[in-house]
Amino acid sequence: MNFDPRFSGRKFTSVGTRPIRPDGVDKVTGRARYGADFNMAGQLVGRVLRSPHAHAKIRKIDTSKAEKLPGVKAVITAADLPDLTDGDAAMYDILDNCMARTKALYDGHAVAAVAAVDARTARQALKLIVVDYEVLPHVTDVDEAMNHHAPLINDAIFTEGLEEKPVKPSNVTKRSQFGHGDVHQGFGHADFIVERSFKTEQTHQGYIEPHACVASVSSDGTADLWVCTQGHFVYRQHCAQLLGMEASKLRVTSSEIGGGFGGKTHVWAEPVALALSRKAGRPVKLVMTRDEVFRASGPTSATSIDIKIGARKDGTITAAEATLRYSCGPYAGSWAEIGAMTAFACYKLDNVKTVGYEVLVNRPKTAAYRAPSAPMAAFAVESAVDELAKEIGMDPVEFRIRNAAQEGTRSSYGPVYGPIGIGPTLEAAKSHPHMKAPLGPNQGRGMACGFWFNFGGQTCTDLNIGMDGSVSLAVGTVDVGGSRASLSLVAAEELGIAYEHVKAIVADTSSLGYNDMTDGSRGTFSSSMATISAARNAIKILRERAAQMWDIAVDDVVWEKGHAVAKGEKHGNLGKLSLKEIAAASGKTGGPIAGHSELVADGAGVSFATHICDIEVDPETGSTRVIRYTVVQDAGKAVHPTYVEGQYQGGAAQGIGWALNEEYIYGKDGRLQNPGFLDYRIPVCSDLPMIDTQILEIPNPNHPYGVRGVGETSIVPPLAAIANAVSNAAGVRMTHIPMSPPRILAAIEAERGG
């Protein structure tokens, strides 16, 4: 990578302004095309048959009657998706999740699929498929699954990370541990110790757009896939590997995306649609119903967490310890490991120990959800921190400021921090007017901090200058939150032209080099770096072309505010050449002008946030109302402040839903009881106050503009901030998320009774 990513401290013209997003009009008028909006001539309708059992052996699948039904063009089972993963365990799990092989591992697990001329015929065909199941005992609760007597989900799993290699298989796939110092000694120095256990229920990202794709496999073995995804290059890799194709033969085009939040980071239905199309010889459209999205895509972990924190009278934490148990669904994951790394990351601790356990359960395969695993750990830690501050008699903000990590602090997950923003977010929260707003009867105020790593990754960008001087920017990171606007601002900034002259698109997989997906808050961080690099490469060519037009040495030409300028006394009479003038002459100076960039964006810089919220609790019913909510977060540099605020507000809104209402409810039969938005209640506008935001800008030293990722950290503090507010309003410590009305009422009544 011949590109210097270091922060330069430049003054900005375009970056930091708030123009209208290029995809805005299409989205508000309904013209924007999402996954299910794409159609191909002769396309078939795909439908998936799913297990009604939480855990069952598949003895036999008889598809003969379905195949004979007029209008059915293809029926597939796992036999049509053979194992081509070559020992790649993670890919094998994805394959098995797409289509069950020997066992159905959760209610909703795909066991067969059909492609038919219309939806009615496809549904009829599903009813004609006969699956002979041997129902097995199941377990859906994370704590129960760790019990030695729990039904074993995979007898080939032996717990990793134990000092002695286990001799018996287990539902615990891995134990991980982080920390430093001696917690036993640390607790010995504490005047106050808080020790509590917490639970959080499983939630779904709740994206409004279901998984949807159209697959078309040609008889020559090439294929097209139009799909709603957070990473079309990653989907291409997955699908090509699972179907035994060369990646270059599969062109994947990402549609607009109606939310992903981590849930669209690996394939679910896409290999099935491709296999159906390959068998039928026609395009196949496969759109999940909402029921299928809940039952068979990737919700977050359910958790069970024990916390112990000790502090001296002066408010200094002496030791902190956590044991975190996270459900993974029926496949191995590293979700508790992330929770164990992030749990105490906000604090300066001499003695800290976290242990994580990954637990298999008969639920859907866990997927990432915005700063995956961090919100649940923060809920437990920040609840205990609040309680400890109260026991000591300190203000909860002052207590956190006293113990906040800073530059030079050894993080709880290991490395020593560079420049970080937890202290400034706490100071900003302390002085925010929200902290002085009056509270009414039955209202409580809570606050909490949150941490997330942020990532970069492989990134490729093309910048093409048209002969009229307008600029096309082709990026490979899917736009999940306004990045086309932000990246256009970056291109305009570098080139010195107006934002309106830049048009950004998300290119398909055949038009651009590989890009990692849009996850880890990397979209704008990574693609802005690649856009800066591509623009600078284009400027180099623009200078060369201007030098040609003037017939002077290129070293005498500099680029200033969108113009080539000849430097030196001997060129004193030469006027400036605009980008438009150079572009217009490009046909006679060497042809098209473009800038390309391929790089690995690393050094994303960790991120911190502090949230404040006020909640009113009805003590008679346990219902809650969010009165005020404020987000303070470090953005490094807000490229488009409106969309940074949008990320902050979106994370807070999802956190409010998670904290107060959302949960997967399983019956004793292991079947999901509430796979729909009627019974799985995400917040709607009337549930939310105006979410106030405060952007802090502490530059990331590893990005030319100082940019940090902003998409995920905002969902880390809400569970805890709301739990602290509800606990203060209700007068009882809430330890179980979601704090739904029945749970709050039960806690209030237990407190009264006690």
Binding site: F178, G263, P415
Partner: protein, 81 residues
């Protein structure tokens, strides 16, 4: 010679050591030499290991130099949402 701190699972595979010393100029050489000295690391390196250099986390820039005296910390490569 740089001192490399290992996270728990990696330390177990290195016979219980939490720190190892390696002669390496960049991340690529570090991983190559770690795999030579500790063959059990290889599957984890294949799966993905992140390297924190003075607190900044690098996941893919294997050409990143390891400055003398820098704090080098190996971490699991994590997923994002």
């Amino acid at each position: 010679m740089v001192e490399v701190t290992l996270w728990g699972a990696l330390g177990q595979l290195a016979g219980g050591q939490s720190k190892v010393e390696i002669e390496a100029k960049d991340i690529r050489e570090l991983f190559r030499k770690l795999a030579e000295q500790y063959p059990a690391f290889e599957p984890l390196i294949d799966r993905g290991i992140a390297v924190a250099i003075d607190g900044t986390i690098y996941r893919d820039t294997w050409s990143k130099e390891l400055p003398q005296g820098a704090e080098i910390f190996l971490m699991p490569r994590l997923a994002g949402g």
